[in-house]
Amino acid sequence: MGIKSLDELKALRDKLKTDINVRASGEIKSNTRVIVGMATCGIAAGARPVFSAMVDEARLLDLARVTFVQSGCMGACHSEPTVEVRVPGEEPILYGNVTPETARDIIRKHIRSGELVQNLIIGRPFETV
């Protein structure tokens, strides 16, 4: 098939873009991503209850457009369980030493109201290009 104009190319790109975006940002870009470190260190420190508490809280509050991803070790093993919140268009925030209770706080404050849970922040993870 030949591409006869720039508009045709743009249309093809837009059609193909959705799938490459899964690769580019992990999920649909408009979604907030909550990434829980669930490598050995995270799980040993209690990341699983943290993960389920967050999913549960989001369900209770009926929050849409949030994607929960379990990941490996973020490298901050000293502060596991860690939760990284990536709101589109904002700097990613890394929380450490999260418990199931404070995890619910993160959902309520950060995800729902856009208010950071200051005392849990351990540093900003690296920004990817």
């Binding site: 030949g2 006869k4 490459i20 070790c73 993870p125 290009v129």
Partner: protein, 597 residues
Amino acid sequence: MSAYRMHLLVCGGTGCRASESKLLAENLQALVMTAGMGREVQVVITGCFGFCEKGPIVKVLPDNVFYVEVKPSDAEEIVSEHVLKGRPVDRLLYVEPEQKGKVSSHGEMPFYKKQLRIALRNCGFINPEDIEEYISVDGYQALGKVLTEMTPEALVTLMKKSGLRGRGGGGFPTGLKWEAAARNRADVKYIICNADEGDPGAFMDRSILEGDPHSVLESMAIAGYATGARFGYIYIRAEYPLAVHRLEIAIAQAQQMGLLGERIFGTGFSFDIAIKFGAGAFVCGEETALIHSIEGERGEPTNKPPFPAESGLWGKPTCVNNVETFANVPPIILKGAEWFASIGSEKSKGTKVFALAGKINNVGLVEVPMGIRLREIIFDIGGGIRDGKKFKSVQTGGPSGGCIPASALDTPMDYENLTCIGSMMGSGGMIVLDEDDCMVNVAKFYLEFTCDESCGKCTPCRVGNKRLHEALTRITEGKGTMADLDNLKELGAIIKDTALCGLGQTSPNPVLSTMKYFWDEYLAHVVDKKCPAGVCTALLSYYILPGKCIGCTACKRVCPASCISGEVKKVHEIDQARCIKCGACLKACKFGAISKK
């Protein structure tokens, strides 16, 4: 492509393929199919991730998990643990050597942290053998934009404003090159992509062609529009079979889609590309020699002027740009000249890809903003020197470059500064040397290379480099004199001034720079007849330290020259006259009783 929930990116660069990444990808694909997830999980073979030290690399997305040193047999665990259960395979994660902490996400690895990828933006991200993947990341949009919205003059102005300079080594402003070719009127003009990557240790051009071939094709067409050329050649060495293979696929796909060929995007502009193979001569990286090689003549340089922009391939105006230079063009057009010019240092804009090699922990490809300090590249990104040894020098720019000492580690890396400290950007090879490397020997190594690769056309290069090499050989054999040192300096300067092309004009750089920064090592070889690094065998002696030798006879048993004498439990001795300096005794001794001086 359909909507997959998970992508397994497997590096298909030459380095990882040599470690069976192809079989690994096949295993992953088969296991994914067996698990019934063929519609959910996609296995993609990509170009080089740059972290060749730890290859083969597998990256899992959207989880953004980065696996290193993955074997074909690891496929099962990745699929059963990670793909099925969402549990990353801990043992395959990258261990950061400084903190010993495992790092899964690639953005958090020190190796990637300070990098900014423009030329390598798609390497390790898209499947280079699928044009649709390139299109999905804005591929060919830049070509579409220039053809439909810009005049060739405006395009040249944009390139000039961006400040992009040739990445092959010379650093000539790309916009000016295009302008010169555009200005010269002729019925036929040519674009040439110089993919004759020759510096020992440099492999960025290969990686770009293997990982993102379409970006080069697109840029060549853009350059064609700017200069008025409608045909392009890619001059690539035949020993890059994978790059050639992927280029061939890419050209065929682009032609099929009408992105190369007649009347692109329905405009009046037509452009096509063919591949020309080089036989791997270093001098053919020089543009006039390269042009002669395409013409079927001997690969020898000719005097400039006339520059190729006036009279190049078959006497027609020709614009020759390097692979990495081309790879920078589409983002400049899509994001603007100001964006590009905001990156880098005052006179060197954008980023540069460096190939890290030698005694460094993270061997691989890195792309960093111009002006970054050498220290950051070597210690932060490169992970420091292997085995905890001491940094001595870094050789940049290959056989045309020089050796940079520790005192210049804080020099910002750009064209001007590197030239200022006696080296050059070159194509971006960076060979790190530690305390065990002898600088005289390193200079000799590069001279050996230039002597081999000199085409022989001009006398300064053909004869001069030979004389330099002979003097260096005498010095490393302990037969050097102070007069040799004076001659090296004088002859080096003459060759630089009088050689015909870039090869000869820069070939004395490794000698002159090491003499400038490591003069004491030259003196030690000539005056004391010693090689401080313990490399030059003719200047070495092995001794047994009586205080440490316990008479275990281990050295005596391994000595191939049978020149070690001594009885059990008594101190041994090496007969210096018969010693062949092989170092076997040093390796065999468990008590540190052998000394090398």
